[in-house]
Assembly symmetry: C2
Homo-oligomer: 231 residues x 2
C-alpha cells in the first residue's frame, strides 16, 4: 500500500527525481507545472511542492515566472563542493564517534549487510541497486549527522550534498568503487565502536575525496581535458 499511504507530493518528488536521475530529463530541460502534472496524473499543487523541494536540494533551478530547469551539474564547481563536504562530514563523524549510541551503530551495520548482499546479487547497472545505494548513502551519512547534532545538522548536510552529484557518482560506480565504498562504511562503524574520532574522520575524508576524484574523472571524460584545466 505504498501508493495510497504516500502523499501525492512525495510521489511527485520521487518520480521527477527518478526521471532526472535516469537522464530522461536532461540538464537544461524545462519543467512546466501543468506539463508535469499531466505527465504524472496529478494536479499542479503536489507537483509545485515537489519542484520547490527539488529546488531547495539544488537539483533544479527556478526562474521567476518562467518555470524551472534541470540544473546542469557539469557547470558546478565540483571540487569546491566536495572540499566543503569533506570539512563538514569530517566534523560530523568526529562528533558522532563519541555520541552515536551502540544501538544505532548496530542498525547501520545491518543496513550495510543488506546493501552488500544486494550488491552481490544484482547487476552493476540495475536501477534497483542504484536506487538502493543512493538511499543507503542518504540514510548512513544522515544518521551520522543526526547523531552529531540532531535534525539541524542533518538539514545542513542536505544543503551541502547536491543531489545530482551523488546520483552521478552512484551511477558511474564500478565494482571496485562499490566495494571500496562499502569497506569505508564498515570501517567508519569500526571506528565508532572503538570510539575513535580521529580514525573515523580519516576514513570519512578518504571516502569523500575518493568520490570527488571519481566525479572529476567522469567530468573529464564528458567535457574533454581542456575544461578541467580551466578550473
Amino acid at each position: 500500500m505504498t501508493s495510497s499511504n504516500e502523499r501525492a507530493a512525495d510521489r511527485a518528488y520521487r518520480m521527477i527525481r527518478a526521471d532526472i536521475m535516469s537522464g530522461d530529463l536532461e540538464g537544461g530541460s524545462r519543467l512546466g507545472e501543468a506539463n508535469m502534472a499531466e505527465r504524472y496524473g496529478l494536479s499542479r499543487t503536489p507537483v509545485r511542492e515537489a519542484l520547490r523541494r527539488l529546488q531547495s536540494e539544488g537539483l533544479i533551478e527556478a526562474l521567476p515566472h518562467r518555470g524551472a530547469r534541470v540544473v546542469d551539474w557539469r557547470s558546478l564547481d565540483i571540487a569546491a563542493i566536495y572540499d566543503l563536504r569533506a570539512v563538514v562530514e569530517g566534523f560530523f563523524v568526529r562528533r558522532a564517534a563519541i555520541t552515536m549510541p551502540d544501538s544505532e551503530i548496530d542498525r547501520l551495520s545491518g543496513l550495510c549487510d543488506t546493501v552488500e548482499r544486494r550488491t552481490a546479487e544484482l547487476s552493476l547497472r540495475d536501477p534497483e541497486l542504484i536506487d538502493l545505494t543512493a538511499e543507503f548513502n542518504r540514510e548512513f551519512h544522515g544518521s551520522i549527522a543526526r547523531a552529531a547534532g540532531g535534525e539541524i545538522f542533518a538539514a545542513v548536510r542536505g544543503s551541502v550534498v547536491i543531489g545530482p552529484l551523488v546520483l552521478r557518482t552512484v551511477h558511474d560506480y564500478t565494482r571496485e568503487d562499490q566495494q571500496r565504498s562499502n569497506r569505508h562504511h564498515r570501517e567508519i562503524l569500526a571506528a565508532f565502536r572503538a570510539r575513535s574520532p580521529e580514525w573515523a574522520e580519516s576514513v570519512m575524508l578518504a571516502h569523500v575525496y575518493s568520490a570527488k576524484t571519481r566525479l572529476l574523472e567522469g567530468r573529464e571524460q564528458l567535457l574533454g581535458p581542456a575544461s578541467v584545466e580551466a578550473s
Copy 2:
C-alpha cells in the same frame, strides 16, 4: 515597490520568520495554516509554502496532521551549532582570502565604515542599530561565502546560521562586544588584502567563538546555571 514586486509567499516567510525572531511567536507555539493566513491577510497557499521553507531550515517542526510548532531555540545545542559554524566559516574565509577580488574587499570595507559610524552615533539598544548590525553581518559573511564558492556556499551558510541565534547575539551586544566584532571584521579584510588564508581563518575562529561564548553566557542567565551543566 518592495511589497508589490515581492511574492506573497516570500512575504509570509519573512513575516513569520520575523515574528519568531522577535519572540512574538514563542517556542512551542502552534502554527495553523488557516490561523497564519488570517493573521497576515493572505490565503493558505503562500503560508503553506512559507511553512515548508521554515521547516526545511529547522526553525519549525511539522507534525503529520496536527500543524507545526516553533522550535524552542533554547533547547538547541548551541555549542554544537557554533562549533559547526566555526568549521564552515573557517573553510569559507580560507578560500575567500585567495579568491575575493580587491573591489569586493573595498566594498566590504566601505560597509564597515558605515556600521562603525552608526555604532558611534546611535544608542546601544536602538532598534535601528540592531537591525543594521544584523543586516551587515549577513552581508559581510554572505559575501565571504559567495567569494569562496558561489551561491551554493551562501545557501549552505544560511542553513548553518540559525536566525534567532544571530538576532539574540546582536541584541545582547555590549559596547565592548560591538567594538570587538567591528575590529574582527576589519582584521579579516586586512588578512584578505595580505592574501593570507591562515591569518584570515584565525581571526574568523576568534570571531565565531567569541559569539558562541556570549550566547552561552546569555543562556545561563535565562535558564539558570543548572541547565548549562545538564548539557
